[in-house]
Amino acid sequence: MNTWTDIFILVLVLADFRLLATSRLAAVIETTVLQAVALSAFMLTLAEKPWPLLLIFLSLITLTVKGAILPWLLRRAMREAGVQREIEPIIGYSASVLIGMILLGLSFIIFIPLKASVSAGSAFLLPGALFTTLTGLMMIVSRKNALTQVAGYLVMENGVYAFGAALAVEEPLLVEMGVLLDVFVAVFVMGITVYQISREFDHIDTDRLSELKD
């Protein structure tokens, strides 16, 4: 059980680095699909076999929403906005990867004092999940393209979700479903807003949305 858990977390973390390193939006969206697959698989590895039916159901739903529907929404928004890649990120790609390495180290250090009470299956789980959350945050603050930021939000949710996945066995299904539903609607509404922004402004660079200030 532990080996597979570790492998899927490793996939999650490596995917984070790809997200930090690439400028192509299509690649970013592909990588979120990869993360969704890793997430839904690793939920299963945490439980003992035979897997509870509810868990299999939750894993499948996660895969469908995060691995198929949301990427589809993002791709559609990308087409409608006519944007292929991030032009000038606020923090460059190599610098992003370097910062990512530091964040990964920090994620491990942070959990040393909290480890005592962890019931999670793998020592990498919490640092990996935190690192994914931080990667998402990085993408939101260091990129200008609105769609990359939406993808960043998705990655951040993946990280938070990984924290929850460790508890999925005990936590009630209703909440997990609610969370998924909210994320879905969030990306949907963000997609619509991006579309409206691109129609109104002819671009989706959020740093140029700067009229409102004090």
């Binding site: 951040m156 924290f163 508890l167 005990e170 909440v175 969370v179 609607v185 969030a186 509404v189 109104e200």
Partner: protein
Amino acid sequence: MLINIVLIPALLGLIALVIPWKKIRRGLLITGGITHAIIIACLAVYPKSPVASGAWIGLDSAGLLFLSITSILFLAVSVYTTGYLGREGDRKVLDSVEGFLFRNEPEAIFIACLLFFLASMSLVCISHDMGLLWVAVEATTLASAPLISFHRHHRSLEATWKYLLICSVGIALALLGNYFLAYAGHGKIHLRFDDLISGATSLDHAWLKASFLMLLVGYGTKMGLAPMHTWLPDAHSEAPSMVSALLSGALLNCAFLGIFRAHCVLTAAGLGRFSGELLVFFGMLSMAVAAAFLIRQTDYKRMLAYSSIEHMGILSLGVGIGGLAGTGAMLHAVNHSLAKGMLFLVSSHLLFIYGTKKAGDVRHALKKTPLTGVLWLVGFLAITGAPPFGLFLSEITILKGILDSGRWAVAVGYLLILAIIFIAMARIVLPMAFGLPERETSSAPPVKDYREPVWLAGPAIALAAAVLAMGLYIPAFVWKFIGQAAFIAGGN
């Protein structure tokens, strides 16, 4: 029974989305507001037994208090909205700031989202589970985003984008806080309030502290606590006024309820001091930031937005101190919502008449449009805590609570900031009401009917009367009720 306050507005919203008849759709909005208010009144008069164990939803005093605020405000807003849409819905209108034509969002979407917004806020108030509460708070963000972009132009889109992204990211952190809370219970305690509070002593303290930090930052973003408040002035100034009123008077309170629940859990676990100090710190910081931005403010809608940040700071401060200040904070939440709702409604009429959000261009409002001018002044006095309005009473109660707990430095800072804000807002508002009229411009002035329509004046006067009444006399049962709400977190 209880879940109806969520289901009925949601259902009406769905109907509003599909039917093609304008009149009926507006009727649905009012129906939603009235039905909601009636159900709340029934719930308040015939209190049910406390929450059944194992239930997802339930109504306790704090929930009922915030629910009542939401309901009253929504009722006022729904009356206003029907009139407003009659004037501006589904047609090309002139942007009052830059003077270009644009088309508003389809009315069906707007009304549906208003009703969904009401449903999700009600769900926040009755959630009895931290997970469900999170789902509901995120739902409020999503339901209100289309409301902010009602005016489909570049400024409102910018505001919507900031709101959507900043709040979603903030709320994602709150979800992290929820999971930390589950870790604190070693994955064995469910996130229901009862279970959390009864099992609080067995929670792991390190995780619990981490969890509270995340929840505070997450819900604090939504609530508009500094320094996570940056979306708030933009959203409040660009949204139509009744949406600003709902955001300010109802939504911010709902987000606060999330923090309040977490604070209750920490208090039960014996960490009340830790969470209380954090609340005091963020409360003072928010008040100070609001004061700083109010001093040089030129836009009167942004002024109201910063004033909301100030009052959220006061709430946070009061609950953080606890005791009498906690009770005062609950009372303050009611007063602030009533006063701020009224101010936003009145500001919409100022915007309509003068066609500008610049406070410097609004002059002589008392003469030009007497009722609006008077209400604007009344609102200003109420919101800055001048007697005899409700906010005076609640701010004094909080002050007494701070003094009782022996926090002299906090008390001095609190009074100082309140004084600064009073002066800063007076400098903006008084010239708007009294200032000399502009010299008549040579071109023919636009002919406008300056009188307030009933749909505007009615709700605004009702809210003003309510906030005045809250300052003159608070019935004993209301006191008892507010005391109960604060009691959970160690108020008295």
